[in-house]
């Protein structure tokens, strides 16, 4: 049975620590753009921890929400891409094919979640920082669009491993960098086609909502709402 990779993010567990953000940088060769570019709104964070204030002092509340590509089943980014650089795979991932991307940036405009990032310049790693680069992930050059891939390199590796051992992929065996690094275990990744997988069970919880559900993008990430308790 084909996999359908999905994720559940428990906002009641998330403490906004930002470990996932660094993990993503380490895993996916995401360049640090530097202060001057960051100031121009070009910092690249495939996953970001959104924070929203509520109320006024002293009754202030704050909400964290990790947001990355929602891997929508009805993804607005896909139909608009003139070259199929952004397209849907058999396993339901929103693929971003760098070598096919000509940089219209239409996908990023169409994406309601603003989770697509454009390479405004060629990335640079002062040596020997480049020794840390992950050889399993492309280094994106100027002019292409990039975004969270659900760590497709880990998914592929896991599937190849399972195939080599003539078995199926075990639940929890494949973990994207963000889910792996989260010490509060707020991010859970797995196969939505397997009703018994941890992620499926979480996605069924009544706390579960989808981000901007009303837009009908059918995201594959379920957000478990923060519970309140007087």
């Amino acid at each position: 049975m084909a996999h359908k990779w999905g994720m559940a993010i428990d906002q009641d567990r998330c403490t906004g620590c930002g470990a996932c953000v660094t993990a993503c940088h380490a895993e996916n060769n995401i360049p640090t753009v530097g202060a001057s570019q960051a100031a121009r709104g070009r910092a690249m964070h495939w996953i970001r921890v959104e924070r929203y204030w509520e109320g006024e002092f002293p009754d202030v509340k704050l909400k964290f929400r990790p947001v990355m590509c929602q891997q929508c089943d009805a993804a607005p980014c896909e139909p608009v891409c003139p070259t199929y650089a952004s397209h849907h795979t058999a396993e339901g991932l929103n693929a971003q094919v760098y070598n096919r991307c000509i940089g219209t940036r239409y996908c990023a405009n169409a994406c309601p979640y603003n989770v697509r990032f454009f390479d405004f310049f060629n990335p640079e790693w002062p040596r020997p920082l480049d020794a840390q680069l992950n050889p399993d992930v492309s280094i994106r050059e100027v002019g292409v669009m990039e975004k969270c891939t659900f760590c497709v390199q880990r998914i592929t590796a896991g599937e190849i491993q399972a195939e080599a051992e003539k078995r199926g992929v075990k639940d929890g065996e494949i973990q994207p960098a963000c889910a792996q690094s989260c010490s509060a275990r707020a991010i859970v990744f797995g196969d939505l086609n397997d009703p018994e997988s941890a992620v499926s069970r979480l996605a069924r919880q009544e706390r579960g909502t989808k981000l901007l559900e009303e837009l009908g993008t059918l995201p594959k990430i379920t957000y478990l709402a923060k519970q309140t308790q007087a």
Binding site: T22, A26, G34, S36, F57, N122, P126, S183, A184
Partner: protein, 681 residues
């Protein structure tokens, strides 16, 4: 570094790294024969220990092949070697349990940092200028040995280190002891020694407690940012997650008592702002040991609220109280700590325990660096007091007077800039390393791990250097270990109880549970605002400010990157006409800083908060001269009995100094999710 510093061809892009003869210099460099067997493209996982904070998380290192520039017998070239690619938590480690915080993961950039010192360095400029020239290890060690031998009195040898680093403490303590020097001065800005003392008094354990949050139904935390920057953060995050959602039908509640909202406060179910330094009273009131009406007067927390929380605490067992951070950075800190201990006892305290780990206390002195005044030779290891100590302690001035300073730092930082000799250490991935976790898990044991990769520079493990130096002295001195490996493996715990070095036991005389007013530096009339520095979630006390990933990591609450800033309550800001990014002059009795403002809803109108971590004079291309150093505003106020710095006891005044100059870089566009909800239509 602005990318436009380089002319670059992007008309057509993509270097054919895979292809020969594509004009890529990679292929003009000669290739040395690798010294190890390499399976290209296949990852290996090796255990190590995270060096960033004293939590001592076990990490899992992904090791894979990569080309590394190197020089062999004067010949530049590349060699393929197995190098670390990524740090993850070690699933079998009781502390990290597979998770790892942002700082821990970024630690890998220490190894590959472009400005890391590649060989021993000798000063060739004015002190503090940070200009050095490379020398050989033989020269370097010989020089240090001669300087040590030249000392007529070994008591004039001072050592400054950072506490709680497992066997590395033992190494320097042993070195000091055997060569007859005074015990090392172990300094950290955000010290928890008050709590250790209080615990010594309350529980007979001068140690940070381990809280079994996963079992808790109710948690009251007094100032401790235990999910962000305080204590064994990774372990506490894991436990917190389970406390919230791991038990069907049971969800633990977290009440955070503090003066400025931290990430922990943001994750709390209830956030209770209090007047700085009054947390202890609230604790006593909750324990039923202080009149609630009076507590309201002192803390500013409504009596009703106190009563309610007290009731909830009584009803929802098991419950536990945590104290730390700014709550214990006041002149009455020992009282506050003891008061919270009292509360814990009242709550039964079954969730509070101590890891099997011997106590260690740092130097106890109202002026830890006084000893430097008459030092003739100074060794600095992983400490940066020039940056992290209050100006009034005159560390900089003391260093300028010391005839000879040697540092083991991997980077030129504010303190190392004053060194005459730098003997750069390996990175933790290149050498034997260990940790003795003080808290975080009751089954935490001291752990050690070997190098996961070969050194990429001509550096040496400090343990080996010290052992060599000791052995080369006129009257050779032998350290208990033959080399760094033995040191790391040595089971003899990192337990140098430095109290005998500087005896000042917590006085049993005065009853520490009596409420005492906190004293603040600066009269309320001249300095109307409380100044609350806090450990930056990304940089801690500033020791990781040189890592680009962390510089570009948006701050959890403000979303700021590459910046330092001061947080001001919206009302106050409005009154003073201050908007996000506007420049503000912050003045304490110690001086003035000009920093951009962040209008911050989670802080009281009479308090301003500023993260520590930026504002280094020297700290690599990424952190040098970036932002301002909050520590430089701190007055030298200490907790009288333990002598630890009361870093939250400074008052300041603020004034709008100008419009935004772009030095505040925010990642977020908006503070509120529905900014137009107040619109009337």
């Amino acid at each position: 570094m602005d990318r436009r510093d380089f002319i670059k061809l992007t008309a057509v892009t993509g270097t054919s790294a895979a292809l020969a003869s594509c004009g890529n210099p990679e292929h003009q460099l000669i290739r040395f024969v690798p010294d190890e067997d390499i399976t290209p493209g296949i990852a290996e996982w090796k255990p190590s220990v995270c060096p960033i904070c004293s939590a001592g998380c076990g990490v899992n290192v992904r090791v894979m092949d990569a080309d590394v520039r190197t020089v062999r017998s004067g010949q530049a070239g590349v060699v393929r070697m197995n190098v670390a690619k990524k740090l993850e938590g070690l699933p079998t480690d009781p502390i990290s349990r597979g998770g790892l915080c942002a700082r821990g993961q970024a630690a890998i950039q220490i190894t590959y940092h472009p400005d890391r010192l590649a060989q021993p360095m000798k000063r060739d400029g004015a002190r503090g200028s940070g200009s050095f020239k490379p020398i050989s290890w033989d020269e370097a060690i010989a020089e240090l040995v001669s300087k040590l031998d030249a000392l007529d009195d070994r008591k004039a040898l001072a050592i400054v280190t950072r506490p709680h680093r497992g066997n590395r403490d033992a190494l320097f303590a042993a070195f000091a002891q055997r060569v007859g020097a005074p015990a090392p001065i172990a300094y950290e800005l955000f010290s928890d020694d008050v709590l250790r003392h209080a615990n010594a008094a309350s529980y007979g354990k001068a140690q940070l407690p381990t809280y079994d949050l996963a079992k808790a139904r109710y948690v009251v935390s007094f100032g401790a940012d235990f999910l962000g920057t305080w204590g064994s953060v990774v372990a506490q995050n894991a436990a917190f997650g389970d406390m919230r959602q791991a038990r069907p039908g049971v969800r633990g509640k977290l009440v955070q008592v503090e003066s400025r909202m931290t990430t922990t406060g943001a994750s709390a179910d209830e956030w209770v702002p209090v007047k700085p330094g009054t947390e202890g009273v609230l604790a006593l009131a909750l324990a039923g040991k202080h009149d609630i009406a009076d507590a309201e007067k002192i803390t500013g927390v409504p009596a009703k609220k106190i009563e309610r929380i007290a009731k909830e605490l009584a009803d929802q067992k098991p419950a536990v109280a945590i104290v730390g951070g700014p709550a214990l950075a006041h002149t009455n800190a020992l009282f506050t700590a003891t008061a919270v201990n009292e509360l814990n006892k009242a709550l039964g305290g079954e969730l509070l325990g101590f890891a099997s780990h011997n106590a260690q206390l740092s130097t106890l002195s109202a002026q830890p660096f006084a000893a430097l005044a008459d030092a003739k030779l100074l060794l600095v290891d992983e400490a940066n007091p020039v940056y992290g100590a209050p100006k009034a302690w005159k560390v900089r001035e003391a260093l300028e007077k010391i005839p000879y300073i040697a540092s083991f730092s991997r980077f030129v930082d504010d303190t190392t800039a004053y060194a005459d000799l730098i003997l750069p250490d390996h990175s933790f991935l290149e050498s034997w390393t260990d940790a003795a976790p003080e808290s975080g898990s009751l089954d935490a044991k001291p752990i050690s791990a070997g190098p996961v990769m070969k050194p990429i520079h001509d550096t040496r493990a400090t343990a080996d250097v010290l052992i060599a130096v000791a052995g080369k002295l006129k009257t050779p001195v032998e350290l208990p270990w033959k080399n760094g490996e033995e040191l790391a493996k040595s089971s003899q715990p990192s337990t140098v109880d430095r109290r005998q070095a500087n005896p000042a036991p917590p006085s049993a005389g005065r009853q520490p549970t009596e409420w005492t007013d906190p004293h603040f530096d600066g009269a309320a009339s001249d300095y109307p605002m409380h100044f609350l520095p806090y450990a930056s979630p990304a940089f801690g006390d500033g020791s990781t400010a040189h890592l680009p990933w962390l510089q570009e990591l948006p701050d959890p609450l403000t979303s700021a990157m590459w910046s330092s800033w001061i947080e001001i309550n919206p009302k106050t800001a409005e009154q003073m006409g201050i908007a996000d990014g506007d420049l503000v002059d912050v003045t304490s009795s110690q001086g003035t800083l000009r920093v951009p403002a962040v209008v911050f809803p989670g802080i009281a109108p009479d308090i301003v908060a500023m993260p520590v971590g930026q504002g280094h004079e020297h700290y690599t291309r990424y952190a040098s001269k970036r932002g301002a150093n909050a520590a430089s505003l701190l007055a030298p106020v200490t907790e009288p009995e333990t002598g630890t710095l009361a870093w939250a006891a400074t008052r300041v005044k603020i004034a709008r100094a100008g419009d935004a100059d772009g030095s505040l870089i925010l990642f977020a566009g908006e503070k509120y999710e529905k900014p137009h909800d107040h619109e009337t239509r």
